[in-house]
């Protein structure tokens, strides 16, 4: 998808975001309650630029190298691509590394 040679992935994400945005707007507009009867609240993301940009770039490098983001990694494991188990194990290791170095990183 990063070669921009196929529309497929952009169609998927675009459709999901447009329908998702309509859904979220309707939930807010009509104060729709969830299954348990509680008001649905959307947590705004914390402000900041550095963490989102730096983290995003690092994730993007891994996404393009493995060809999968976290959800599809485990879908691929179920599909029978057991090499993805290695990616998943090391993704957990990467998450641990972030937790370990968190306080030393700019956010």
């Amino acid at each position: 998808m990063f070669r921009f040679q196929a529309f497929h992935m952009y169609g998927i994400i675009g459709t999901a975001v447009v329908l998702g945005a309509i859904g979220v707007a309707l939930i807010k507009r009509y104060n729709i309650r969830d299954f348990h009867g509680n008001p649905i609240q959307f947590q705004p993301k914390e402000k900041g630029v550095v963490r989102y940009l730096a983290g995003g770039v690092i994730f993007g490098l891994g996404w393009a190298l493995s060809g999968a983001c976290p959800g599809p990694i485990v879908v691929n494991i179920g599909y029978g691509f057991f090499a993805m188990i290695i990616v998943f194990i090391f993704a957990n290791a990467g998450t641990f590394l972030y937790g370990y170095f968190k306080d030393k990183l700019p956010h």
Binding site: F35, I58, G60, L61, I86, F96
Partner: protein
């Protein structure tokens, strides 16, 4: 119906399903974000004793681990019951040409054998590619506090600026890897 499901799903159907999953999770009081599972797993195996970031009540996030197991089962069902025999993932002819220049043949199933077969896994280079990509994904998603589901789908749907910054970052990283680093590796 079966024919509709066994071919590669059209982009609008897949996108609609993803939005439906996100809104379904919201309706049941949760949120759609996959990469936080890896923080939960780190906490569940006891790393919270060493690193405060993993010291939280991970059981409150166990619903998301159920979602993870469901995604694995979904992949299994897609392969066993919903794939037409011999069907390969449809990628653009231009991409096939670019990949062949890197020595990677078009996939006969969902992924190219050169990267995801057992032989690839047991070669040093193949293993390093898988391991390093995993590290980058796990580190980057937590640093950015979300991945494709948490930022590109949930965040953008809620019109969050930080999510747009993160998605721009995803693309910068993806483009650097695709056009600058991959040609050096292969």
């Amino acid at each position: 119906m079966r024919e509709f499901l066994t071919q590669t799903w059209s982009w609008w159907f897949s996108g609609t399903m993803i939005a439906a999953i996100m809104l379904c999770l919201v309706y049941f009081g949760q949120s759609f974000g996959f990469s936080s599972n890896m923080r939960t797993i780190c906490a569940a195996v006891g790393l919270g004793k060493k690193v405060p970031f993993f010291d939280f009540n991970w059981r409150s996030k166990s619903w998301n681990l159920v979602f993870l197991v469901g995604a694995i089962i979904g992949g299994f069902i897609a392969h066993q019951f919903l794939s037409a025999p011999g069907a390969a993932v449809q990628i653009s002819p231009a991409t096939v040409a670019d990949l062949s220049k890197l020595g990677i043949r078009a996939p006969t199933s969902l992924q190219p054998d050169e990267l995801f077969s057992w032989e690839a896994l047991f070669s040093v280079k193949g293993f390093l590619i898988l391991a390093i990509s995993g590290l980058l994904i796990g580190f980057g998603t937590r640093y950015a506090a979300g991945c494709t589901s948490g930022h590109a789908i949930s965040g953008l749907s809620n019109l969050q600026w930080p999510s747009l910054v993160a998605v721009v970052g995803f693309f910068v990283g993806g483009l650097i890897m695709t056009f600058l680093i991959l040609p050096l590796i292969f």
